[in-house]
Amino acid sequence: MEDVAIAGAGQSVFSRKCGVSIRELCFEAFKEAMEGLDITGDDIDASIICSAPEYDKQRSPAGLISEYLELTPKPSFYVETVCSSSSTGLRVAWSLVKAGLHRVVAVIGFQKMSELTSREAAERMGRGGDIIWESPFGLTMPAGYAMYARAHMAKYGTTEEQLAKVRVKNSHYGASNPKATYRKELSLDEILGSEVVTSPLKKFDCCANADGSSCIIVARGDVAKGITDVPIWIIGLGAATDTMTMSGRESLTGLRCAQEAGKQAYQMAGIGAQDIDVAEVHDCFTISEILAYEDLGFAKPGEGVGLIEEKQTYADGKMPVNVDGGLLSKGHPIGATGGSQIRTIVHQLRGQATEAQVKGAEIGLVHNIGGIGQYGNVTILRR
């Protein structure tokens, strides 16, 4: 069977309020992904549209977006795993190409969260939990991750200052990312002094809701070689789930869905954590990045904070992570996020990163989590 590659990757600017319609938002990412490729929309055999429902009024957005991008009459459909929807889209695209059903598939992720007030958005996210048993208590995404943070602190002695150092790093790189919502460096004191949202997480421990889109063009290996100079190969894919309920979790000191997805991806790629040159991890909150270090094997359980203390996850460290600013700087337009992470790794492996290029990066990893650790997706790419 043929190998599968990423030929093109694009994203819109991520912002608090894009001021355009979802179809127009998706065009921005599609344009960047397709520019420079030796194909047109006619060569795209199928499109996979990825977002979390209920942020805009449009039902069945796949039909709308495939029309606007003139991808009809080719098949188009919708996939959803909340915040990891576009990584799931990539997984489906890989399968379709690997199976020989299609040669080129577009994975388009989007979210226009500014259609809602932030309280309404928090309510949607709360309903991303179990609506009979847990949402009625007022569960929110930040609250769920805050409970992971508190448990991690109790077990390993992790401090709020160590969490804040993740934001210091990511804000440093985000400051030079032209696509990021927040392009301002933050000091440790500013982060520690920001208002408490849900203890121990403060305002600057949290990523912001955003509008944005992403687009990844996935192609059969021989086709990819013909349409781009530098195909980026998909060599590892992992996907897993954990319980919808917080009460069903085996532990609150790591995300089981990420551990499991990571294991699968490493195994498929035939490599280990030590072989990764650069990573994008799902830092929806500062604690999430620390959990990712440990769940992906960059550090042993409880030792993730050492990586940030020693600045090993900066671009010139042993294991560069989120050197595009991460979700904390870029903002988190749910359905678009995974595709944006993949785009960053594609740029890194092509030596085209604009924020901070990791020298000689050949293998990159994307860790994209849906909900409060309900859906785990890990993708490994190679130049």
């Binding site: 928090a122 309510e123 609506i131 007022g138 992971y148 109790a154 408490v196 609150l252």
Partner: protein
Amino acid sequence: MGFENFGTVSFTAEAKAADFITYLEAGKVMATRCRKCGVSYFPPRMDCPRCLSSDVEWFEIKGDGKLISYTVVNYGPTGFENDAPYILALGEFDGGVQIFACLSRDIEQKDIQIGMGLVVSPVKLPDNRIAYEFKKG
């Protein structure tokens, strides 16, 4: 009666597990156990996916649990504006049963410790609503 008055905001009413609410009104927090294979479930389930049986029995969650983790929520979603700050918590009880609920407002924040003893009991909320919460064990 179903889940229409459960918690601060409920989103759906009907469930086969609605007897949970009847027990809650009577002062009991209940879990279920599969009569065929013996597995117990909280949140309670009326179906057992392991052995495909729907022959389950109710049992009361009694005794001391311990606090696994918590967070003080200062910014509640729609419907919870007047509740904040409130404290969400996860407790572990006999047999490894874990329960997600709020910590009682009687507990002062400075007294909260991971690992502290908890009991779970029904609590009446304004507007004839009902839930369960953790108190100090």
